[in-house]
Symmetry: C2
């Protein structure tokens, strides 16, 4: 790889990306991050999450000046009020977004100019599990299918290699395929 690939590309500040990698290599504790969300019940299955603060690179973030706010709900057919997508649909958003961001970063690092990255995600779920009507059916998705359409200034195998490298380094793909320990603490009043 030559230094000519280390130019800003695809909207990615590639020189800063490599400088960040070097900085973390020198001080691995900078890599410890904590992300956070706060949720409150609104009514029925409708609830609202606020996302803002996080810790990373050795300090609390101060760049976010406003909350990100997201509603979730069940649709009418599941006796909800449809004031937002279902929680499981946000999982589909998360994996598409994570893989796409990775594809674009990897492309910038490899000097590949992208024109378009689109994806669709489908998640199949049999609600007999969560409805308590079958012990054989799991609660969650039985499978998730992601389909990418990528257009860029590189041959087919190079473009496919971007997706593969993104998958191999995706935080959401790891969580969703391998699982993660989740603790639940309750305080009542």
């Amino acid at each position: 790889m030559t230094t000519t690939t280390r130019q800003p590309l695809n909207g990615v500040d590639t020189p800063t990306l490599f400088a960040t990698l070097d900085a973390v290599k020198a001080s691995p504790e900078l890599a410890k991050f904590q992300f956070r969300a706060a949720n409150r019940w609104v009514s029925g299955t409708h609830n609202r999450t606020t996302i803002r603060g996080f810790f990373g690179a050795g300090q609390e973030d101060s760049t976010r000046t406003e909350d990100f706010v997201y509603d979730a709900d069940h649709p009418a057919v599941l006796v909800g009020t449809g004031n937002g997508p279902t929680p499981v649909e946000f999982l589909l958003h998360a994996i598409a977004a994570c893989l796409t961001a990775g594809i674009v970063n990897v492309a910038a690092a490899r000097g590949v100019t992208l024109r378009e990255v689109r994806s669709t995600v489908e998640g199949d779920i049999d609600l007999l599990g969560i409805l308590g009507l079958s012990k054989e059916v799991r609660n969650g998705y039985q499978g998730i299918a992601v389909k990418f359409e990528i257009s860029g200034d590189a041959p087919d195998d190079v473009l496919r290699g971007l997706v593969e490298q993104s998958r191999a380094r995706s935080a959401v793909y790891d969580v969703m395929t391998n699982g993660v320990p989740v603790s639940i603490d309750v305080r009542t009043s």
Copy 2:
């Protein structure tokens, strides 16, 4: 359990909830759902997901009349442009929202009046994994901690039981703790 518990409660149409359970019990194929999302790259790590259509209860949904649209991005400290939360933060939203909706449904079914349900979610992640700087560190969260504060018209053990039943039937908790098969298909041009 007496029929007096089958009144609308906490904003949940409990009679319809039980009628829906009965309908699915009689026709289990109604429980097959497919949720979907579509994502497109904007610039750099910024991308946008659209959520609307889904299949369930034997037909395509027609109740959603507008798209739900969500941006995701990496923050500046990770060389993004901060136009949305990171993809992994949407996982925290998803689990809080799913557990909360479940708590409220279970409370309605059990005749428990809720006053407040709040939660915070923290996800710890060491980016040495996704940055490719350590083979020992996983890409995803190392652990997720959910903390609920629940206030309602029932003793402590009954309120805790709502959370436990919600956890036991949560689609997002299942996906995030047990993982799910994810296929990735690529078309290039």
